[in-house]
Structure formats: C-alpha cells, structure tokens
C-alpha cells in the first residue's frame, strides 16, 4: 500500500503542522508569559525571573524559531507531495 500523496493529504499534513506550531505559540506566550508567570517568577534565568523573561524576551525568540521551523517543514512537505514551486 503506497502512502497517500493527494492534495487532501498534503493539506491535512499542513494542518497538523500548524496545530503543533500554534500550540507552542500559545503555550510560550499566554501560558508561560502570562498565566503561569507568577509562579515561574520564583525561578530565575541568570538575573531574570523566569516568568518575566518569557514575557519580555523568551516568547519573542520562540516566535522566530517557530516561523523558520514551519517554513523548513513546509518546504519539505511541498517536495514530498510534489506541489513545490519550480
């Protein structure tokens, strides 16, 4: 049985990847940077209280990594499903 390489399968794979990336996006900023910032502030990263660090530094770095990660994975999916640009 060969793997399903249809456009529908491509779209489902894209949605799965999006789900993972957006879950991380939400977790780092809204959960670690806001909702759990108070308890996290009792830990520290160098001189930064950890919750404060996520709200003012860490979430931004994570966002950058997420966008490049998504672009890299999508380029691989494009080729795998043979929908990449020439």
């Amino acid at each position: 049985m060969s793997e399903d390489l249809s456009r529908d399968a491509y779209w489902r794979a894209n949605l799965r990847l999006l789900g993972i990336c957006l879950a991380i996006w939400f977790f780092v900023s809204f959960v670690l940077g806001i909702l759990l910032a108070h308890p996290l502030n009792s830990l520290s990263l160098g001189g930064y209280p950890l919750g404060f660090w996520f709200a003012q530094q860490g979430s931004i770095y994570t966002f950058i990594v997420l966008i490049f990660f998504y672009a890299w994975r999508m380029n691989a999916l494009d080729r795998k499903f043979n929908v990449h640009e020439e």
């Binding site: 990336c21 900023s29 806001i34 001189g47 931004i60």
Partner: protein, 590 residues
C-alpha cells in the same frame, strides 16, 4: 559645530539617501507600483517589513511604556511580535499564491462580491488613516523636540521627502528606502543601549545586560531595581501584580497579535516576494529584524528607569542629603525641562528632588511623617523622554544624539509610506479599477495611483498638523478594527472552503460594529469628549475588559457570526472552491 547644526546635517544626509534611492527605483508599471514587481529578495523584504511595521511609537514610545508598566509591558512586546507567527503561518503564503495586489482584492474575489470588497476597503481606509495621523505627528515632533525646528517646518520637510519617493517609486521606491531606514533606525536604537548596558553592567549586549549583575557588585540589576522601586512605594518591576490585570494582559496580547496579523500595509509586503516559500521565510526574517529592536526595548526601559531613580536618589532613602539638589541637576534634565515634557516642583521646599509613589497612601503617609516629603516632585514625566534622552543620559557624543533624531524620523517616515501605499492602492486599484472604472488602462491606473498617493500625503499632513483631539485613542481603534474585521475574514477565506459571501459580509460587519460600539461607549461617540455612555475606568468596563483589548472579542464575534450565517445559506460556487484549492498549494499548475 553645535548640536542642532550637527543633527540637521545628519537628518539632511538621510533625506538625500532616500531621494537618491527614489530616483534609482522608479516604478514603470502598476505591478512595480503596487507590489515592487514581485521581485524583492525575502531577506530584503523582511528588513523592509520591519521598517514598515516599526513606527514612531515603537521607536520612541515603547521602551518608556515598558519602563512604567514593568512586567505587564510584556503584553506589547509579545502582542506586536506574536502576530507575525499568525501572519507567517495562516496568511502570508496563501495570499502570495493568490498573487494579486491588495487585501480587499482577495476578499472581493474569494467571496465573489463587490460589496465584500468595498467593506474591506472601508475597514482598510479607517485603519490606515487613523494610523498614519500618528506617524505624521511623529515626524513633526521629532523635528520640533530634537532638532528645535518648528513643528510645521519639520512636517513639511517630511511630507516632501515621502512625496518624492512614494509617488515616484510606489512600492518599489518605498521598499528600498525602507531598507535604508531600517538600518538607520536599528543603529540609532542599539548604539545608546549598548553604551548604557556597558556602563551599568559591563555587558555590551543589552539583552544579556538586563539579566546581569550591576557593575562592581553581586546584585542582579533587576533585583536591585525591584528593591529600589519597593523602597520608594512602587510595586516591584518584575512582579506580575500592578500595571494591568491578568485578564486584560491576556486579551490585550491577543488583540495586538490578531490586529498585527490583520494590518493591510504589513500584509501587502508579502505580495512583493517572488515565490510562496519566500513569503513563509520572509515573515521570519521580518521578525528577526523586529526582534533586534523589541528585545532591546525591555533593557532600554528598565535601565532608563534605574538611571532616572538613581539620578534623583543618589543617597539613602529618607536621609535629608540623599536626594539630588535642584542646582546639581544634570544638563539633560535641564534641557528636557525646557520642552515641558519633564517638570519639577519643590513641594516641601528643601531644595532637593524627591521622586516616589505618592499615590501609595500608606507609603506617602509614612514619607510625610518620617522624611518630610510632601509629594513626588517630578510632576510631569513624559515617557517618550526615556528613549530620546538616552544618549544624553549616557553622555554619548553629539553624533549619536543626531542619529537618534534621524532614527525617530526614519521610523515614522517608513511606516507612513507603507500606510500611504495601502491607502492609495485600495483607492486606485480596488475602488477605481475594481468597482467604478473596470476598463481603465494600466497607464491611467498608475497615474490614478500616484494622484491618490499625493492626495493621501496632503490629507495625512493636514491631520498631522491639526490632529483631532483623540489621536492617541484611535491607534487602539486601528488595531481593534484590523483584528475584528480583516484577519478573521482572510483566515476563513483560506481555511474554510465552505465559507460563502453571506457569512464573510455578516462576519465583517458584526466584527466592525461591535468593536466600534464598545470603543465609542467608553471613549465617546466618534471620540467627541463627554459623549461616552459609561466611565472609561476598570470599574466601568464590561467584565473589566479594556476597550483597547476588545479587538480579540470582536474577532471572536466575527468568527461566530460568519459561521452561523454560512450554515444558513448556500455554499460558494464551484469555481470559488477551486480557487481555495489552488491557493492552498504553492505550485502554479492548478
């Protein structure tokens, strides 16, 4: 050479660069005028997007805002950067594949409706015009405060320069000028920050310096800052209490993220790259360039408040000799006091300046009895000073001060140009060609684009000179509307094949109307003072939701209304469903 001459020379030199680029990058076709011929390298586009996005507010005001909010200032940092994740993952690649010129054009085609396109144009115009007023104002203020030139003169100089490169070069000219403006802006922002970080912590990288120990001590800068602020009756800088409530921080972050992803002048930047995969990557590069400034801003903010407090309070708190004497004020305080942005008043007439939280009643009571303090004596402290005075606080040479002036002007001009392009392209391409004169020739459309750009510049300049009294509030409105109208509609157009024109129109209208109503209820009808129906205070807000944060709720209403109406009406025609299919794959063979 005195400082003013030096500053004017540096700013003048940057203007010559912008005009030189404009002459080199003239637009010859509508494609070059609207989307720079779709030939911009993704890294270059990322840099231009960063300049387009970072406005006078990011450059001048944000660090000061964070300095006084502390931890909760993170809402602005996360909100204005997290939106790029939404844009890169949910919008940019698909809109690039669609391959046209404007945001309303996608909405009109996808929802097979001129009405939908016109509603999108209205939303775009309200968002962009409210936003551009602040930018023109920013140009004028940068001139009048830093260069000591009358506001109107500065504004006209700025308008003339934008006029030359935006009317001549369109998106092509704007893109290449924005790259130059980004370089000037980031250099002007980071140089003072690096010097201040070295002075305070010995670490030249501000992002690391903020987490380091103070020079010649084992105490971390942030710990020392927390302690000092508590000793003066404020809340801790890094604590989650104070500033805004957790609910509002959550909603404001979300509203700013969704609003950022829905701002038309930023979205159209992703129409300029050659391929879909460039659009994905370009959003990442944009965020890298934005993050250079946005991760420096928290250090600038915290170090500025530390410098301010320690300048005013060099000795023990409560010691009669512990405060700065009026006659020993450093030169920068003297100079900024002259602008009216910083004002002192010796309330207890001891000849020294006290700065503390006199709204903390318990602390103020104690300070009155124990120290003889009669109230905080910095009576006006405009937060914009925090960035503008930084080079003077750090005793940096005159050319750095000149550079900061040029950086502030670059930030305002680059954003204004991007907004003006979004305005003029939606008038000439969406309204004129799309609705009223479908048969217009390319040459005439290009001319129409240039004329509407020129009119938009004059209009924005006029409003910058005579700002409506509500200029500050309307920025919240721009974000709220972008979040509540454009973003959900674009996203549903891509991710819900079943979404039809009835649903999209209902969603946009519900999002627009609820957001406007909520803002007008607290800020006054059309912002006329005194016409608000409920007090604009945390107690008066519905469920404690700040009007600035309402865009997130408006977006939710848009989604829900669109979904219900879609369920009750017929699905879109087959060719529209095919269009959605083709937008979803990068290759152009479908």
């Amino acid at each position: 050479m005195d400082q003013q001459t030096l500053s004017l020379l540096v700013v003048g030199a940057t203007f010559i660069i912008y005009i030189g680029i404009a002459v080199w990058a003239r637009a010859g076709s509508t494609s070059e005028f609207y989307v720079a011929g779709k030939g911009v390298n993704p890294i270059a586009n990322g840099m231009a997007t960063a300049a387009d996005w970072m406005s006078a507010a990011s450059f001048i005001s944000m660090a000061g805002l964070i300095a006084f909010l502390g931890f909760t200032g993170g809402a602005y940092l996360m909100g204005w950067t997290g939106g790029y994740v939404l844009m890169a993952l949910l919008l940019a690649p698909y809109l690039r594949k669609f391959g046209k010129f404007t945001v309303p054009e996608f909405i009109g085609d996808r929802f097979y409706s001129k009405l939908a396109r016109v509603i999108a144009v209205i939303a775009l115009l309200v968002i962009s015009i409210t936003y551009v007023i602040g930018q023109m104002r920013g140009v004028g203020i940068a001139f009048s405060n830093i260069l000591e030139v009358p506001l109107a003169t500065g504004l006209f100089a700025g308008m003339l320069v934008v006029f030359i490169y935006a009317v001549l070069g369109g998106m092509k000219g704007i893109t290449y000028t924005q790259i130059a403006q980004y370089v000037i802006m980031i250099f002007a922002y980071t140089v003072p920050a690096v010097f201040i970080a070295i002075t305070l912590t010995g670490n030249p990288i501000p992002q690391l310096g903020l987490g380091s120990t103070l020079q010649g001590s084992d105490t971390y800068l942030l710990d020392a800052l927390d302690q000092t602020l508590v000793d003066l009756g404020f809340t801790q800088y890094t604590a989650t209490e104070g500033g805004m409530s957790m609910l509002n921080m959550f909603l404001l972050t979300l509203a700013l993220m969704i609003g950022t992803a829905g701002l038309p002048h930023v979205i159209i930047r992703f129409f300029t790259v050659p391929r879909v995969r460039d659009a994905r990557k370009s959003a990442g590069w944009a965020l890298v360039f934005i993050a250079l400034l946005y991760t420096t801003a928290p250090a600038v903010g915290a170090m500025a408040i530390w410098n301010l407090v320690n300048t005013v309070q060099p000795g023990e708190i409560g010691d009669p000799q512990g405060n700065l004497a009026f006659e020993d004020k450093p030169e920068w305080m003297e100079r900024w006091a002259g602008t009216g942005l910083l004002e002192f008043e010796d309330k207890n007439e001891d000849g020294r300046i006290q700065y503390y939280n006199d709204e903390n009643e318990e602390f103020a009571e104690m300070a009155r009895e124990e120290y003889g303090w009669e109230g905080s004596e910095i009576v006006t402290l405009d937060r914009d000073i925090m960035v503008l005075a930084n080079p003077e606080i750090a005793n940096l040479p005159g050319w750095v001060i000149a550079l900061v002036a040029a950086g502030g002007i670059a930030a305002a001009l680059s954003t204004a140009a991007g907004l003006l392009l979004a305005i003029s392209s939606s008038i000439s391409h969406d309204l004129l060609k799309g609705v009223f004169m479908p048969k217009i020739s390319e040459k005439n459309e290009l001319l129409a684009g240039r004329i509407s750009m020129a009119v938009a510049i004059l209009f924005a300049g006029y409003l910058g000179l005579n700002p409506p009294g509500f200029a500050a509030e309307v920025v919240a409105l721009a974000f709220g509307l972008a979040a509540a109208s454009l973003f959900p509609t674009l996203m549903m157009g891509i991710f819900m094949k079943r979404m039809n024109k009835e649903g999209a129109i209902a969603g946009m209208l519900v999002g627009l109307v609820t957001t406007l109503l909520y803002i007008f209820t607290y800020k006054g009808w059309f912002f006329f003072p005194g016409t608000n129906m409920l007090p604009d205070t945390p107690e008066g807000w519905l469920l404690g939701i700040n009007p600035s944060s309402f865009g997130a709720i408006g977006a939710l209403f848009n989604f829900v209304a669109a979904y219900i109406v879609m369920k009750l009406t017929s699905p879109p025609p087959k060719d529209i469903q095919d269009l959605v299919e083709s937008v979803r794959v990068p290759r152009a063979d479908t």
